[in-house]
């Protein structure tokens, strides 16, 4: 029983973590370029609903994924325009995006609450899925979960080992220098803010098409905010964001499975767990960051205007 319980917990953690990984990795790209986008929650919701609607209409979940990515990306462009072109305050603009996204998603999804739609189901991978224990934990999932296994290493490689990644880091750390070196700060920030939106939208689709198929209002339940917290926890590194997302997923898995092993806590308190856990993780990560003097991208949240330092 013990082993089965742990396998369930771990497998659920990985499933529950996937949508958050997308959103967090997306936000890492945006923040690495110096743009703090607090609109992740809104973009996830709009991604979730638009992806679901598209999937219902076409019967094809992949069409839903594409539309969700596009929707998230388009929303992020509002933030990009306001903060990069018009130098608006990034915090306020991100909050506006979240409020707008919540309203827009509920507006779009008014006729889709409770509707059955297509969904991604678990994909059996020959050999890997059949591995004992490991197969159940890692390879008993849907395709959107497997994609995170590729996305995280690819993102880490991109940021640290490629030229565009170098430029991305330079723009977020020191836009004035990047500008002098001929890198377009505005273009770079637009691109990665958009990338952040695309992944947030994809994270939303991973909710409405795979993890908890269907549409309910506010279904992301704060995962967008948790993703932002995980970015801080992760010191802006995709691998650590993945670890954080799995920790979060683990807490969720516990929340669902504690009853099965006979521990009864009112659901109200179980519901608090992910949020309390996020605060805790943030406190420890901040402490570690201070000790190790790891900084956020130095230009994070600061608009860049040539000639003003």
């Amino acid at each position: 029983m013990e082993a089965a319980f742990f396998i369930t917990i771990l497998a659920t953690a990985i499933r529950a973590g996937a949508p958050v990984i997308y959103a967090a990795v997306g936000e890492i790209f945006a923040e690495r370029s110096g743009v703090l986008n607090l609109g992740v929650e809104g973009m996830m919701l709009v991604g979730a609903v638009s992806g679901f609607i598209m999937a219902v209409k076409t019967g094809n979940p992949w069409a839903g994924v594409l539309v969700a990515m596009l929707a998230g990306g388009l929303l992020s462009l509002i933030h990009a325009f306001l903060t990069i072109t018009l130098h608006a305050d990034q915090v306020v603009s991100g909050l506006a995006l979240t409020i707008f996204g919540i309203g827009l998603s509920s507006f779009m999804g008014q006729n889709y609450v409770g509707v059955q739609g297509p969904q991604f189901s678990a994909v059996h991978i020959p050999f890997l899925t059949d591995l004992p224990v490991l197969g159940q934990i890692l390879f008993s999932h849907d395709i959107l979960v497997y994609l995170t296994f590729l996305l995280v290493p690819a993102s880490a490689y991109f940021i640290h080992k490629t030229r565009p990644g170098l430029h991305l880091r330079a723009v977020g750390e020191d836009p004035a220098t990047a500008d002098v070196m001929g890198i377009s700060v505005a273009r770079t920030r637009y691109i990665y803010t958009f990338v952040g939106g695309v992944f947030a939208g994809l994270g939303g689709a991973a909710l409405s098409l795979a993890y908890t198929p269907g549409w309910t209002e506010g279904m992301s339940g704060g995962r967008g905010w948790i993703a932002i917290a995980l970015v801080i926890f992760a010191f802006w590194e995709p691998w650590r964001a993945m670890l954080g997302a799995y920790l979060f997923g683990g807490v969720q898995a516990l929340q669902f499975n504690l009853q099965t092993i006979g521990i009864t806590i009112p659901t109200y308190f179980l519901n608090m767990l992910p949020y309390l856990f996020t605060i805790l993780v943030l406190v420890f990560a901040t402490g570690e960051r201070m000790r190790r003097h790891l900084g956020a991208p130095a230009a994070l949240g600061i608009p860049y205007i040539r000639g003003e330092r």
């Binding site: 018009l86 603009s93 409020i99 605060i279």
Partner: protein, 371 residues
């Protein structure tokens, strides 16, 4: 060679130049134009529902401001927005992004309900004292709830945006546990709410306001909000502490060099911010719902963030903008009833207004140059 040839080889470029001063009329024209543009985009969304946007806007305006009843309902919705908005505005003054007004509001309502439902009958308190204690309980509960992210920020430098927001979910779960289980009204016909407060300890209705229809729901919370705005203005502009808060908000490094206690003020400001939001919860609970219930706050705490920011953190501005946003909420209900439009239209409009005002800001801070 002629001078004109110089312009021919350079493509025209848009650039922003910081204004040294902003002409006074711009600070009026720009927000008005921004809101108008937001309404224009909103019109497109409304039209997508097959409703004539002009009709819808007229219905919204009439619903919110077109009748005595509409105005009274607008004021009712404005009261929690005023109090919570004032709370958010103090925190924003010090560049503390308190996104936790919603949770602080719920905790305030919860504490006040506890006093009203249990302490009041148990100790046989006089009603005026019970109301006073309810306010106090809300202030303390909201203040302490706000102090958590404040302490984490001040002492450990943990990002207050995330912590204050996470605490919203925790607070709501906490309160719902009481609403659904511990304090649930057994005679409530299965509805998830507590028993009603004794009528004697409801916040009194302001029946003396002229022009409002009989039986309106505007309660003494309005006076609380106005009083809070005046006190807040006085605190910020006339006291040493308010001066410190403004200096820290403007330039924390300079404040440090002037020996101002930053950590202490972060915690104090977050407590004050939470206390005002808590008071908003008490006012809503004791003035409108008269019990603790699910759906007590239709996201007042989040809307308050917009209110505070659009009011440029000015306490009296907060009162004014809160009325406008209260109107927007009433209008949202109105068009849902009469035009069969989803209520989320008013959320979308809130977001749009914020986008356009944010975007419009640039024109008051910068001069656009084309060359």
């Amino acid at each position: 060679m002629s001078r004109s040839s110089f312009s021919s080889y350079r493509p025209p470029r848009l650039s922003l130049e910081r204004r040294l001063t902003t002409p006074w009329w711009l600070s009026w024209v720009i927000p008005i134009l921004s809101v108008a543009l937001a309404m224009l985009v909103g019109a497109v969304i409304i039209a997508s529902q097959g409703v004539n946007p002009w009709e819808a806007y007229r219905a919204m305006f009439e619903g919110a401001f077109g009748s005595g009843y509409g105005i009274s309902e607008t004021l009712v919705k404005a009261i929690p927005l005023m109090l919570a908005g004032l709370g958010v505005s103090v925190a924003f003054r010090m560049k503390l992004w308190n996104i936790g007004a919603e949770g602080q509001l719920w905790m305030g309502a919860w504490a006040a309900a506890g006093v009203g439902l249990f302490l009041y009958p148990a100790w046989n308190l006089p009603p005026w004292l019970a109301i006073f204690l309810m306010m106090l309980a809300a202030i303390v509960a909201g203040g302490l709830w706000g102090a958590i992210p404040g302490l984490l920020k001040g002492v450990l430098q943990v990002n207050e945006i995330i912590t204050s927001l996470m605490l919203n979910y925790v607070a709501i779960s906490w309160v719902l546990y009481f609403v659904d289980i511990l304090w649930r009204d057994p005679g409530g016909l299965g509805f998830p709410n507590t028993a009603p407060l004794d009528k004697a300890i409801w916040l009194p209705k302001l029946t003396w306001i002229p022009l409002l229809p009989r039986g309106h729901r505007v309660h003494a919370g309005l006076l609380l909000a106005i009083l809070a705005a005046v006190l807040l203005w006085f605190l910020l502009n006339r006291t040493k502490w308010g001066y410190e808060v403004r200096v820290i908000g403007e330039n924390p490094d300079a404040a440090r060099h002037a020996g101002m206690p930053i950590v202490r003020n972060i915690v104090l400001v977050m407590m004050l911010s939470g206390a005002l939001a808590g008071l908003a919860g008490m006012a809503e609970m004791a003035g409108v719902a008269h019990r603790l219930q699910r759906g007590l706050s239709p996201n007042y705490g989040y809307t308050a963030i917009l209110v505070a920011w659009l009011a440029k953190l000015n306490p009296f501005g907060v009162l004014l903008v809160a009325v406008l946003f209260g109107g927007l909420l009433v209008a949202g209900d109105q068009i849902q009833l009469t035009m069969n439009l989803p209520r989320s239209i008013s959320d979308i409009l809130q977001g749009l207004i914020l986008f356009f005002v944010l975007g419009g800001e640039v024109f008051s801070r910068y001069r656009i140059r084309i060359r």
